[in-house]
């Protein structure tokens, strides 16, 4: 295979996909492919049962991490995007009002905009309020509460911005959602495994998660945890098909998780996800978080000290994830990103990060930013080297 990076490569694109993965994740996927290999929940032979146990254990592990009420409420799918589409398309009906924030990723915003536009073709749309955030990306829960109407049914929020890392106040919003009898949907793509998420304490009714970021699993894994307040009869599946259950019926089962898990799942990926989440639980979210806070603050402070560099967000590592956005005066994000990659072996992501709303909020639309997404396996030394690389590039730009 072609070598695509140098030995000193610094991977700072963990907000998109974490890499490298813990060795246990690779081992678990190889073990599944070599030793198990069969379809889970379909046949009753030993290999199929073992595959089923792996999937079940993954449900339990994920439920433990997020303090879900029941492992069978964990619905697996290919990623958080599908999970959010299931929650939004499955639950919302024409005439319903939904509240979201000004820092959402397109995985929330595009389904909501499409549901809103259904009114134009006469089928009746969903009403949408996008609550503004501060230029740093913070959300005031009072603004969310002020947006509640008589036909509001749901509040859909990201837990943290994928652009500037700011953490939204899901505890407060969860309380007010419960007070108003609304369902609370949280997109935990940027926080799961790196920041505490407690479904019951934070009163989350629908939790979307993805496996390939801080849960340390492979791509193609994720899901939606369906809380006990959600009417499963109302939540329509996105797809229907074989579930290995109720096979005598031509109707889709209505119980969890089968109602939403048609088709053979990505069992090899889920085997890896179980190992990834297991690694997170063993290390502890608190310890991972402490390491990321210390790297993030060093990164923010280091970048801010460079002439010509603007860092976005709250500039306080305690109030954000390990994702930091910045720009270099006189250069476009893509120029900076290319030079970081080719000349300094620093890999990051530039542009709009699939979140135009967030860039409008922080004032970087349409140009975008350079984004450093740190992960649990990065080091303070890598942060120091990357800051030096930006200093070098910014010095030449002046």
């Amino acid at each position: 295979m072609r070598q695509v990076y140098g030995d000193e490569m610094i991977y700072f694109d963990n907000a998109a996909t974490t890499w490298p993965k813990p060795a246990e994740v690779t081992d678990a996927t190889v073990h599944f492919l070599e030793e198990v290999g069969a379809s889970p929940g379909r046949s009753a032979h030993r290999r199929s049962l073992e595959a089923g146990r792996i999937v079940y254990d993954t449900r339990e592990t994920v439920a433990e991490l997020f303090n879900a009420p029941d492992p069978l409420r964990v619905v697996f799918g290919p990623n958080v995007t599908e999970a959010l589409n299931l929650a939004l398309y499955g639950y919302l009906r024409p005439g319903d009002h939904v509240i979201t924030s000004g820092v959402e990723h397109n995985s929330v915003m595009r389904p909501l905009r499409a549901l809103e536009r259904q009114s134009e073709d006469g089928s009746g749309g969903v009403e949408l309020t996008v609550v503004r955030c501060s230029p740093e990306g913070f959300l005031d829960p009072a603004d969310v509460e002020a947006a509640v109407r008589s036909n509001t049914v749901m509040i859909a929020l990201t837990h943290a911005s994928n652009v500037v890392g700011t953490v939204l106040p899901i505890g407060e919003v969860g309380r007010l959602a419960r007070r108003h009898g609304l369902l609370f949907l949280v997109d935990a793509a940027q926080t799961g495994g790196a920041y505490p998420v407690d479904m019951q304490k934070e009163r989350i009714d629908l939790l979307g998660f993805t496996g390939h970021k801080s849960l340390q699993g492979p791509m193609g894994t994720g899901g939606l945890i369906v809380g006990e307040r959600v009417d499963v009869g109302r939540l329509r599946p996105l797809k229907r098909g074989g579930t290995g259950s109720n096979s005598e019926l031509e109707e889709q089962p209505r119980f969890l998780p089968d109602a939403y898990e048609s088709g053979t799942p990505n069992t090899v990926g889920l085997a890896g996800l179980r190992a990834g989440v297991g690694w997170v639980l063993e290390r502890g979210v608190a310890e991972i978080r402490a390491h990321e806070v210390s790297m993030t603050q060093q990164l923010i402070d280091g970048l801010r000290a460079i002439d010509g560099v603007t860092v976005y967000g709250g500039l306080d590592a305690e109030r954000q994830t390990a994702t930091v956005s910045f720009n270099v005066a006189g250069m476009t994000p893509s120029q900076v990103g290319l030079r970081l990659d080719e000349e300094h072996d620093v890999m990051c992501r530039v542009g709009l990060h699939c979140a135009p709303a967030a860039h409008k909020t922080i004032g970087t639309f349409p140009g975008g930013t350079v984004r450093f997404g740190l992960g649990a396996l990065n080091t303070l030394d890598q942060v120091r080297k990357a800051v030096e690389a930006v200093r070098h590039i910014a010095g030449e730009a002046r």
Partner: protein
């Protein structure tokens, strides 16, 4: 032991059967996942085979864990 010594526990789905297996393992009750006997259901799923003598403890353990038992019957 012959089949007479066993009963089968039917639950909602394979996911529920896998959960039931874990619940019973935790309370150290022997069980085995087997295909649902054709005469009991046309479903292609699995059920649990347990010792007849354990029938009531199994029912209690599963109910306590929130696993809905559809039927317990002889094989």
């Amino acid at each position: 032991m012959t089949d007479e010594g066993y009963v089968v526990v039917l639950v909602r789905s394979t996911n529920h059967a896998l959960r039931a297996e874990k619940v019973l393992e935790n309370v150290r009750i022997d069980c085995k996942l087997i295909p649902v006997p054709r005469q009991l259901s046309s479903d292609c799923g699995v059920c649990l085979r347990v010792r007849r003598a354990d029938r009531e403890v199994v029912r209690e353990a599963l109910e306590e864990a929130g696993v809905e038992v559809r039927r317990i019957c002889g094989v």
